[in-house]
Subunit: 331 residues, 2 copies
């Protein structure tokens, strides 16, 4: 069915059916001038917005539309997670070229809805319009966080360990595998990570509770870029030990095949959605030394005074880490 | 200065300077993964999002970039107003072609910021990225409203008067004047209305307080379309008296010049941002009969049972009102 045949209001009805979800906190959902909800008493509200543009952030040659929908919501949930918040509601702004079918728009919303259900984030509003050529999707997520429980980028202290939540490189590996039309099944976790990243909402909250993390950010632009953000906002430097950077097994395989240095590759791998955070050394050690640990976090470096710089250490030799993991205006 | 030369992070700093505003309720503004604010206790939250796409919703040949910024925020504030809410915070998703300069982006944000200041709506976050060809701007506004003080589209009752807040037609007149490259100064209020509409936030709240309005909507897609929304959601019909539809003086002049029937013109004039609402007849009469009235609202028709239809009455002759004031997928 062509978009022009459904009309804007027919389309809204179809979307409403796809994203319909119940919550006693929603007073008024999709279909009026605005949505109305009851904020949780005594909590703070968290809000973030992120857009994805065809030809810049995604390419439909190798991105299924349903994955695009998932990802557009997931990257916003990840920003809420990086604050220590819980995502609650999302609104979706979608502009699609006229050549899209109603079924395409439904696929996209099926992805959005799938991600929303997984994370208890309810779609309560949106705007669906046409564009001349490219698809544009912008999502805003509103969440909540307990007072004084949220974490900024700016709270790191000299001496803190800098840690990541898991092996890196998958997202960029997945993108390159898809672009090269390589055999996806050889790199399943990478392709999955690139197409449908999984924000670490509960994990972030656990880190705050159990480790008292001092700063946190999600890895969306690449490890190098995020390290610089934490250093800049916390007015510190850091020394990262190259050998400690965890690299996914598939990324090691892929970079060997391509004869690319894996650490360089990982520093610039955006859209990982692992968390980068700082916490007191002693608390990290205690966590890592627990018996029967169900989840390992990986210290990759240490925060130092600002004038020491943002450095990579390889067997005692040090060099500066370039900040441009992923700069949208320089790609 | 070219966008590539400022880089994403240089640009964020420039934007931050333009939109900077203080509020004791903002815990964390622009610059982290998400913004954090304190919701007002015992109020409900209102949220809405609306996008504007180059070549579909605006054309930079006749739209100054600063006006575009104003309008992108204003249309969202108007949605909050139509619920009876007060706008508080906005996040802006902006995608611009690489040919734009940093100064262009600053102009846009100057417009956003001007509108925000006028309505006490603070920009607390955003995402600025590049696009391949067209400019996309999507805004989400979060506001607040007292419990049970908000107004749906669905509460109209048979017998209620259907009213508008002011003369219509200006926005479409302004658009056509600009498109025709006609002498703008002959139609100043129309051009102004089209480029920089003024949402009726305090006016909406006054209507709720003083008239107990039963349903309300802002006129964004055209009078015909909005009448149908209120009828559909309230499960009613209505009879509109053609002679009662208020038409702006400039619109009368413009439609005379173009030999177009003015009422037809007004029914399809979108982006007016006047309010369309229903209230009990007796309360409307009382309001209109007050001495020294500082603001006149205009009853244009009456709500009737659904099976009577959505009709226009001209000297006792009745015809159906077509719903398509402005359908984005049919333009």
């Amino acid at each position: 069915l062509k978009l022009g045949e459904a009309g804007e209001f027919g389309l809204i009805e179809r979307i409403r059916r796809l994203v319909d979800a119940e919550s006693e906190d929603i007073v008024l959902g999709i279909g009026d001038d605005a949505a109305v909800f009851r904020p949780v008493q005594d909590h703070l509200a968290v809000i973030t917005t992120d857009a994805m543009i065809e030809g810049v952030h995604f390419n439909l040659d190798y991105t299924p539309i349903e994955s695009l929908g998932w990802k557009a919501l997931a990257i916003n949930i990840s920003d809420v997670a990086a604050m220590g918040g819980i995502p609650r509601y999302a609104v979706i702004s979608l502009a699609v070229p006229e050549k899209w079918s109603v079924e395409d728009v439904e696929s996209l919303y099926r992805g959005v809805s799938g991600c929303g259900k997984e994370y208890n984030c309810i779609i309560i509003g949106g705007d669906t319009v046409r564009s001349r050529s490219d698809c544009f999707i912008s999502v805003t997520v509103v969440g909540e966080v307990e007072k004084d429980a949220f974490v900024r980028r700016s709270g790191a202290l000299a001496g803190d360990f800098l840690c990541v939540t898991g092996p890196l490189g998958r997202s960029r590996t997945g993108l390159e595998v898809l672009k090269a039309k390589k055999n996806g099944p050889d790199f399943p976790r990478s392709v999955k990570r690139f197409l449908e990243p999984r924000p670490l909402v509960q994990e972030a909250r656990r880190l705050i509770r159990e480790l008292g993390v001092t700063s946190m950010i999600d890895i969306s632009d690449g490890l190098a870029s995020e390290i610089h953000h934490i250093c800049h906002e916390s007015k510190l430097g850091c020394i990262v030990r190259e050998e400690n950077i965890p690299i996914s097994e598939e990324t090691i395989r892929w970079t060997e095949e391509k004869h690319v240095p894996p650490v360089q590759f990982v520093l610039q791998s955006g859209e990982e959605y692992e968390l980068l955070f700082t916490a007191e050394k002693s608390r990290i050690d205690k966590w890592r030394n627990r018996k029967n640990n169900d989840w390992d976090i990986i210290p990759i470096g240490e925060m130092v005074p600002e004038n020491e710089g943002v450095l990579m250490d390889r067997d005692g030799k040090r060099c500066r880490i370039p900040p441009n993991g992923w700069d949208h205006f320089r790609v």
